[in-house]
Symmetry: C2
Subunit: 289 residues, 2 copies
């Protein structure tokens, strides 16, 4: 049996009781280590689970899936994923390979950023399409995510922005030379994301276009969601661009049309300009208390 | 301290280790019992948690929140919610009341339908706005959810349809007479939801409008997600309208534009007409294997 087990978002204790039972009975346990991360490392998980873990890096999962699935018809193998197992396409790929090899599978779900972000106070059913904000390079500065935010906003919907992370990436030079030397990991912060968004606002204004978003657009930054040192901040984009929420992972939500209850929730984590704007939103909504 | 604890989706063992630690140390534990349900009842949870639970019905949470929060400054109180705690607005309301009363709070997240639905094989970041399909009555047959599905579909996005449930509802007659007599619980099935959708298709065709969806629109029905007897079915709307996935809860996903990997995942649970349509989708996508 192949078990795909979600680990949730915070630390070792965020695994479900069902998930822990699975981990403890499996003969091999892989920890997926490139699409996300917990606030604790492999060693802390091994101690908590009472089980040795094999780090499954991108290479292993995408190129050597057969090794992970080896003899999984006869023995139990677990593949652990931060958040929920269906957060990334590579995990669907692993599942399909298992099915084709006649290996039965079972999924143990858990919280992921896609639903836990509701704790920021914005209602999940008022979210539109989720977008990914990627690290820009000198020559590659895509804006497609920005247009999706505008589409959501036009429909009154909030947008969850997943922020880029680079783990075990090679520089172009090392990649071309075939050298397995990896760059230090990088995680996009809410301030970096807000800065990129404001750069697009500026660019579109210079072109004479209505940028749709402004320095005053309300957003919510979330850091280390579900961990004991979780941080949350309601801010304008301008405020967010200089906001330090500490260690990764960060996520950013761009607010759409606000319901009075959402305004009240956002107030819990707002300061300065953001509060002024929330008061204005509230004044515009007659049913607001 | 007020703890809002998500229970996940399947049975008692879907609580997280952190959540179980919280439940065991609290002096009062409430189980929210009107926005969703697990496949096991209160007694099974009490036995698994080793703790007595108080059922919190809609009346209690909305009208007597003060009773739930009573002395929560000095003692630990847990409020258990199926799925993740931020699935329903009433839980935000409870949290805001706690904050106003100076009661600290903590959230223990878990899987909810909003993220676990990814197991149907459709990628979560290709979902648009979530909609609720409500039970129609003789005189009230709203179609607003249908237009949101069309908007999502036009943008190539999938739509998660949350299906109505009626727990401890009074008939209009008993409500008006002030009689606390409750109707038997009702849970919308995927076949009922598909039937309502097809009714709208028919109505719009009769008006001479393009209904946007057809009998052949691909959808995925999910029943008892996360439980050991979970059922999943890829079907056309026509197939789904006569598909029996058994006991509640059910959810329905209307597919948008399909990625080849999504087609492969949907095939795992498809039969007959749905397979033909998936093959056609695949033929139209040159990168499909």
């Amino acid at each position: 049996m192949l078990y795909l087990v979600g680990l949730g978002l915070g630390d070792a204790a965020d695994i479900t009781v069902k998930g822990l039972q699975v981990v403890r009975k499996c003969s091999r346990v892989y920890l997926e280590a490139y699409t996300s991360m917990l606030t604790v490392g492999k060693e802390a998980l091994e101690e908590f689970y009472g089980k040795e873990l094999t780090l499954a890096e991108r290479d292993l999962v995408e190129q050597e899936a057969d090794e992970i699935l080896k003899d999984a018809k006869e023995t139990d193998v677990a593949f652990l994923v931060v958040g929920d197992p269906f957060g990334a396409t590579t995990h669907s790929d692993l599942l399909l390979r298992a099915v084709r090899a006649g290996i039965p599978y079972q999924v143990v779900h858990n919280a992921s950023i896609m639903n836990a972000v509701g704790c920021c106070g914005l209602q999940l059913y008022n979210f539109g399409e989720t977008v990914s904000v990627v690290f820009w390079t000198e020559s590659w500065r895509p804006e497609s995510f920005y247009d999706k935010i505008l589409q959501n906003k036009a429909a009154g919907l909030h947008t969850l922005c997943l922020l880029d992370l680079k783990v075990k990436e090679q520089s172009l030079e090392n990649l071309m030379r075939g050298k397995k030397i990896y760059e230090p990991p990088r995680f996009m912060s809410v301030s970096q994301a807000a800065t990129q968004l404001l750069e697009i606002v500026r660019r579109r204004r210079e072109r004479g276009d209505d940028p749709g978003l402004t320095e005053d657009t309300l957003c919510v930054g979330v850091a280390r969601l579900g961990a004991s040192d979780q941080e949350m901040r309601t801010a304008t984009l301008a405020q967010m661009s200089s906001c330090d929420l500490g260690a990764p992972l960060h996520s950013l939500v761009i607010a759409g049309r606000l319901h009075p209850l959402e305004v009240d929730m956002l107030r819990l984590h707002a300061r300065g300009d953001a509060l002024t704007h929330l008061d204005r939103e509230c004044a515009a909504a007659p049913e607001c208390d």
